[in-house]
C-alpha cells in the first residue's frame, strides 16, 4: 500500500502548484493516492498492450512463417505420389493454424489489437460479431487513452461472457463535472444488475463509478463512468 509519507518525485507538467498536496509532502493528500493509483493503472494497461504486440511480432510471426516453410518443403517433394508425406505436411499445417488460433485467443484477452488501432467502436463490433451476440452498439467515435478503452472493453466483454441476454450499449465521452478530464459514460441496458460489481472491477481502479437500476436477476440498466486523465 501507499507509504505514510508520499513524496511525488515526478510531478506531472499538468499539475498546478495551487493543488493540495503538491508541495506539502508531510501529509499524504487523498488526491496524491488517487493519482498514484491512476498512474499504476495506466502503466498496467500499457504493459498489456505491449505484451500483445510482443506476441504478434514474436511468436505469432515465427509460427506463421513455419506454415510457409512447410509449404516449400511439400513442394520440394521429389515423388509426386508420396501421399504419406503430403498427409504429414498437411497435418503439420493444421497444427500450425491451431497454434495461431490459440495465440489469437490469448492476445484478445490481453489487449485486442483492433482496440488499440481503431478504438472501442470497431473492437466491440468485432467482439459482438465474433460471439454472434444480440447487442445493439451505439459508440461515439472519440478515442480515449488505452487505460480507459481497455477498462471499458473488458468490462463489456465480462458482461457478454456472464449473460446471454440481449443488450443495448451506449458509449459517450462527456466533459467531466469536476475539474479534470472527460468522462467516458457507458450505459448498458438489458444487463443484470448483479453484473454491477464486475463492471466496477474495471471502472473502480481508474476512479470511476457504477450505478445500477433494477432487481438482480432481471434486465436492468448499468451506468458506468470511466474518468479520463
Amino acid at each position: 500500500m501507499t507509504p505514510a509519507v508520499v513524496v511525488d518525485r515526478n510531478p506531472r507538467p499538468g499539475r498546478r502548484p495551487d493543488q493540495p498536496g503538491s508541495g506539502d509532502a508531510a501529509v499524504p493528500a487523498p488526491e496524491t493516492d488517487a493519482r498514484e493509483d491512476r498512474r499504476r493503472q495506466e502503466e498496467r494497461w500499457r504493459r498489456r498492450r505491449s505484451l500483445e504486440r510482443q506476441l504478434h511480432d514474436g511468436a505469432a510471426l515465427r509460427i506463421s512463417s513455419l506454415a510457409l516453410r512447410l509449404g516449400v518443403l511439400e513442394n520440394g517433394s521429389v515423388d509426386p505420389d508420396d501421399g504419406a508425406r503430403h498427409r504429414d505436411i498437411a497435418a503439420l499445417q493444421d497444427e500450425v493454424a491451431a497454434a495461431l488460433e490459440e495465440l489469437r485467443a490469448v492476445a484478445s484477452q490481453i489487449y485486442p489489437p483492433l482496440l488499440h488501432e481503431a478504438g472501442l467502436g470497431p473492437a466491440l463490433r468485432e467482439l459482438v460479431t465474433a460471439r454472434q451476440r444480440d447487442v445493439v452498439l451505439d459508440v461515439a467515435a472519440d478515442r480515449a487513452e488505452p487505460a480507459v478503452e481497455g477498462a471499458v472493453y473488458f468490462a463489456l466483454a465480462d458482461c457478454l461472457e456472464a449473460s446471454g441476454a440481449p443488450l443495448a450499449v451506449r458509449i459517450r465521452r462527456e466533459p467531466g463535472t469536476v475539474e479534470g478530464g472527460d468522462i467516458v459514460v457507458v450505459v448498458i441496458e438489458g444487463a443484470d444488475p448483479a453484473l454491477g460489481p464486475a463492471v466496477l472491477d474495471e471502472a473502480g481502479p481508474l476512479g470511476g463509478t457504477v450505478d445500477v437500476e433494477g432487481a438482480p436477476g432481471s434486465a436492468g440498466t448499468i451506468t458506468a463512468r470511466f474518468p479520463c486523465a
Binding site: L61, A67, L68, G71, V72, L100, R104, R125, D134
Partner: protein, 221 residues
C-alpha cells in the same frame, strides 16, 4: 507472375519469398515497409503486391500503402496478409478497391497451390477473402436488427457467403452442387432482397451485395 512483398517481419518475409519462388513467381521487390514498396514499384509495377497490414508506416501501413499503390497503378492486384481476419479491415480494404484485392490470414497461404490460386484469382480481377471471415460474417447474422440479410433464405445466404469469398458463379455452382442457372436465380433474388436494382453491372452489384451485408454487421446504415 511478377510480384512484390512488403512485410516488416524478416522471418515471414523470407518464408514468403521462398514459397513464391517455389511457386514459380518472380519476386521483383522484397522490402520491410510500405514507403519502400511504393518507391520500388514507382516505375516498375507488378501483377500483384503482397502487403502486411500491420507494418510501417504505423499503425496500419499496409492500408495506406495500398491506397497509394491503387492510385498510382490501378491495374495492380493487392493481397493483404494479416495475423487477424477482421471485418473492420475487410471494409477498409473494400473501400480501397473492389476488384483485384485479397485479404488472407498469413498461415493460410502456406502451400504452392493456395498461394498461386489466390494470386491468380486476384490478377483475374476477383476479390479473395479468407473463408473463415466470410463464413463468420454471413453464416449466422445477429438477430438484434431486422437487417436485410435476415430476409435471405438459407441457400441464398450460402450463395452470398461464397460471393463474399470472391467466387465466380461457376465456382459457386460447383461448390454447392447446383447448376449455373440456379446460382443466377439465387443471385438475382439476393440483389432483389438487398434492394440492388438498376443499371449497375453485375460485378458491381455483387460487390455492393457483399458491402451491404458487411455494413449491416458493423451497425452502419
Amino acid at each position: 507472375m511478377r510480384v512484390a512483398v512488403a512485410e516488416d517481419g524478416a522471418l515471414f518475409r523470407q518464408g514468403l519469398v521462398m514459397l513464391l519462388e517455389a511457386s514459380g513467381h518472380e519476386v521483383v521487390a522484397c522490402v520491410p515497409g510500405g514507403d519502400e514498396l511504393v518507391a520500388a514499384l514507382a516505375n516498375d509495377p507488378v501483377d500483384v503486391a503482397l502487403l502486411d497490414i500491420r507494418m510501417p508506416p504505423e499503425p496500419d501501413g499496409g492500408l495506406v500503402t495500398a491506397e497509394r499503390l491503387r492510385a498510382a497503378h490501378p491495374e495492380m492486384g493487392l493481397l493483404f496478409l494479416s495475423h487477424y481476419a477482421e471485418s473492420h479491415y475487410l471494409v477498409r480494404i473494400l473501400e480501397i478497391g473492389t476488384d483485384r484485392v485479397g485479404y488472407r490470414l498469413k498461415e493460410k497461404v502456406g502451400s504452392v497451390e493456395v498461394l498461386s490460386d489466390t494470386l491468380s484469382r486476384i490478377a483475374d480481377g476477383e476479390i479473395v477473402i479468407e473463408p473463415v471471415l466470410a463464413k463468420r460474417l454471413v453464416e449466422k447474422p445477429r438477430n438484434d436488427r431486422k437487417d436485410v440479410v435476415a430476409a435471405l433464405s438459407e441457400r441464398e445466404r450460402d450463395v452470398l457467403k461464397l460471393m463474399a469469398e470472391g467466387r465466380s458463379n461457376g465456382g459457386i455452382a460447383s461448390t454447392l452442387f447446383v447448376s449455373g442457372k440456379a446460382v443466377e436465380k439465387h443471385i438475382a433474388s439476393i440483389f432483389d432482397k438487398l434492394g440492388l436494382h438498376g443499371d449497375a453491372s453485375v460485378h458491381h452489384r455483387r460487390v455492393l451485395a457483399v458491402l451491404t451485408y458487411l455494413r449491416s454487421q458493423r451497425g452502419e446504415s
